[in-house]
């Protein structure tokens, strides 16, 4: 029991996720800064941001709207991110103890943060937040189908096993799925879904600063907002790790394996950050069309290619 609790709270749970997530957030900001000829923040800036919001800043509640829902939403979002993180990292790091859920459970858990953003925004009673929430709903509807289809394609590639550790085991014996044509297509789809899940440009219309001033999060401040920030840090680490586990062959922790694990994660992060910095934001209807038609089509092509063993 004590060991289980350690998994949830320290490694690979809360503290580890928060710490690495913060570092990933720093890397994201630093890479963006390099692309944009800026200097970028110091290494610990994400943690300064978090602790300042948590400890120093005042939490202002909206006068209209449901305060309890408004405040609880970030807590549930953080819990969702934490659970999905543990479910992904336990098998990915080869720690089989604890709950080894199948990927469909992980899929559900990964949706929770987005849902809590929507609930929190709707509880805020702000017209800009409600626009943000409606955009987030549309975005979730459009990318989740693609995400689920991509997961289904991976399950079919791995010979109909649904546990994440089994999928990793198949890849470690037969080579990473990304080594095939269909695998490359799936990586592309997965990366774009991650982009949408993280709310990064070109899919940041739910918080579009210059249109609806951070939409969903406009009313959040202080400690409540710090939890949202923490959730975002964690998701920035969890989703690339999930991609590595699902398609890039997972991680091996022996000698050179550490380097590979690091390179895979940084590579995915670099890709996400570069997409973020070389595209403008698209409209929500364009995003829906993009996912519902083109990305779904791409996954179906990948499944067909996989059927013919490409």
């Amino acid at each position: 029991m004590g060991k289980e609790l350690l998994y949830y709270l320290v490694f690979p749970g809360f503290i580890f996720l928060a710490f690495v997530g913060g570092l990933f957030s720093w890397a994201d900001r630093k890479i963006s800064a390099w692309v944009q000829f800026r200097k970028g923040p110091p290494l610990l800036q994400p943690f300064y941001d978090f602790f300042k919001l948590l400890l120093v800043k005042e939490t202002i509640l909206p006068s209209r709207g449901s305060k309890l829902t408004f405040l609880l939403a970030p807590v549930f979002g953080l819990a969702g991110a934490l659970l999905s993180g543990i479910m992904i990292l336990l098998p990915a790091f080869g720690l089989r103890q604890g709950f080894s859920g199948d990927v469909i459970v992980i899929f559900y858990m990964l949706t929770i943060p987005s849902l809590t953003y929507i609930i929190g925004a709707l509880a805020a009673g702000n017209p800009l937040a409600s626009v943000g929430a409606s955009r987030e709903v549309k975005l979730v509807i459009s990318y989740e189908l693609t995400f689920l289809l991509a997961i289904a394609a991976i399950i079919s590639k791995s010979g109909m096993v649904t546990g994440l550790h089994q999928i990793i085991a198949v890849q470690q014996s037969q080579g990473a799925f990304a080594g095939s044509f269909s695998g490359i297509l799936l990586v592309a789809v997965f990366v774009l879904c991650i982009q949408a899940k993280l709310g990064f440009v070109p899919f940041d219309m739910a918080e579009a600063e210059t249109e609806i001033t951070h939409g969903c999060f406009i009313e959040y401040s202080g400690a409540a907002y710090s939890l949202i920030k923490l959730t975002k840090y964690m998701m920035l680490f969890i989703l690339p790790a999930f991609l590595c586990a699902m398609l890039l062959g997972g991680f091996r922790f022996n000698g050179i394996g550490f380097l590979w694990a690091f390179l895979k994660l940084i590579g995915v992060l670099l890709l996400i950050t570069l997409i973020r910095n070389t595209n403008p934001r698209i409209r929500i209807d364009q995003a829906m069309r993009f996912f519902l038609i083109w990305m779904n089509l791409l996954v179906i092509v990948a499944i067909i290619l996989d059927y013919f063993n490409f």
Binding site: P127, L128, V201, M205, R281, I282, R283
Partner: protein, 392 residues
């Protein structure tokens, strides 16, 4: 269900105080109402209490971005009243300053447009490439902004011939970077998807709203004060007015980007012209401004700047009326926003490059019978407080 989406009074879209109420149904904008008037500086009144030489410094501060266009128009105005012909060297220098300003203003807009699209890389790059222009300003005038170059009858500082080489080198650098930016923006399919067909203003709309500048030229209305009412060195050099026909946000970006090449070419020709003129011959002495009325126009980066001055033979203007280009351009929002989604509407708002603080004026109404002010200062403050409470 109709809901009001406010843009302003403080909003990341426009870093100036203004309030747009977008009446939205879902994401579609059904109606738009706006309130400006958050910023009143009393420039016209202030101008009447300053000598002509001081007014130049005052009108320079109307706009922080196009800070030369107002002195330009004011100088044109006074020179029309006094019937002064300025030396050619001064004309060239005035045009160089005006075009350098257009360069930096258009680069600034390109950057901001990128920012509004969520494309912060364009924002940072465009502003980085704008820096050399400001450095040139510092070299030529001593200031990166608010250059204080203009006076009645000429300019205050000469561009010495040994500076010309450095200016040319910087211009080559800027042209190279403009190529890069133009390529990045014109060929990006995502930018096309986002800006083409958005916020369309037809030729008729432009004529109805009397819009000016790049906003009008992007809709195929071929107006440019530099050509239509020639001043400074513009008749002496070869250049062409850039127009586009589509009238959408993309066309406005296209017009501005291509205008930058024209500006560079104008500056280069002016530098050639400078070499032919005698160094130091930059102003004529003006002893007095006679009684009279005059108008002065200048093409600011955003469109036509209009100044009207009435003089009575003293060294103060009796009446000074200023119209900034945003005054007419802002009205086009009614056409470009309604019926579009919120995302497109915000883009259409930014596409005319509005400058609210430059355009805001206060009119004081007097009762004809009693001669009293209809609204006095105290009542205005009360009205403001009431409106602010009503915003909740």
């Amino acid at each position: 269900m109709n809901k009001i989406i406010p843009i302003g009074p403080y909003h990341p879209l426009q870093e100036e105080p203004e309030l747009f109420r977008l009446y939205c149904e879902g994401e579609i904008v059904k109606d738009v109402k706006w309130e400006t008037g958050y910023n009143h500086r009393g420039i016209e009144k202030l101008s009447e209490s300053k000598t002509f030489d001081q007014v130049f410094f005052l009108v320079e501060r109307i706009c922080g971005i196009c800070s030369t266009s107002h002195p330009f128009a004011f100088a044109n105005c006074l020179e029309e009243i006094a019937g002064i012909d300025i030396p050619n060297r001064a004309k060239y220098i005035r045009s160089i300053i005006g075009e350098l300003e257009r360069l930096h203003s258009h680069l600034l807009w390109v950057g901001l447009a990128g920012h509004f699209l969520g494309y912060n890389t364009v924002f940072m790059w465009a502003w980085k490439y704008r820096e050399p222009v400001l450095d040139l300003f510092e070299m030529i005038t001593g200031n990166r902004n608010s250059y204080a170059m203009f006076k009645i009858g000429g300019v205050r500082r000469d561009i010495e011939n040994d500076k010309i080489q450095r200016i040319r080198e910087t211009l080559d650098h800027i042209r190279e970077k403009t190529d890069l930016l133009t390529g990045a923006i014109m060929d990006d399919p995502v930018i096309h998807a986002r800006t083409k067909g958005v916020g369309i203003l037809t030729r008729e709309d432009i004529l109805d709203f009397a819009a000016v500048g790049p906003t009008a030229r992007a809709s195929g209305v071929d107006i440019d004060i530099r050509r239509d009412d020639p001043y400074a060195a513009y008749p002496l050099v070869n250049w062409k007015v850039i127009t586009a026909r589509e009238g959408d946000v993309f066309a406005k970006a296209e017009v501005r980007l291509l205008e930058m090449y024209e500006s560079i070419s104008i500056i280069e020709q002016c530098l050639d012209g400078l070499k032919k003129e005698k160094e130091g011959d930059i102003a004529v002495v003006v002893d007095e401004i006679p009684e009279g009325m005059g108008t002065g126009r200048a093409e600011a980066p955003r469109g036509e700047v209009f100044h009207f001055v009435k003089t009575d033979g003293s060294n103060y203007p009796v009446r000074h009326k200023i119209r900034a280009p945003s005054y007419v351009n802002i009205a086009t929002f009614r056409k470009s926003c309604i019926g579009h989604t919120l995302s497109d509407a915000t883009l259409a708002l930014a596409a005319v490059d509005p400058c609210y603080c430059c355009t805001e004026r206060l009119a004081v109404a007097y009762d004809i019978d009693t001669g009293k002010k209809i609204l006095n200062g105290r009542e205005l403050v009360e009205l403001s407080a009431k409106r602010t409470c009503g915003l909740k």
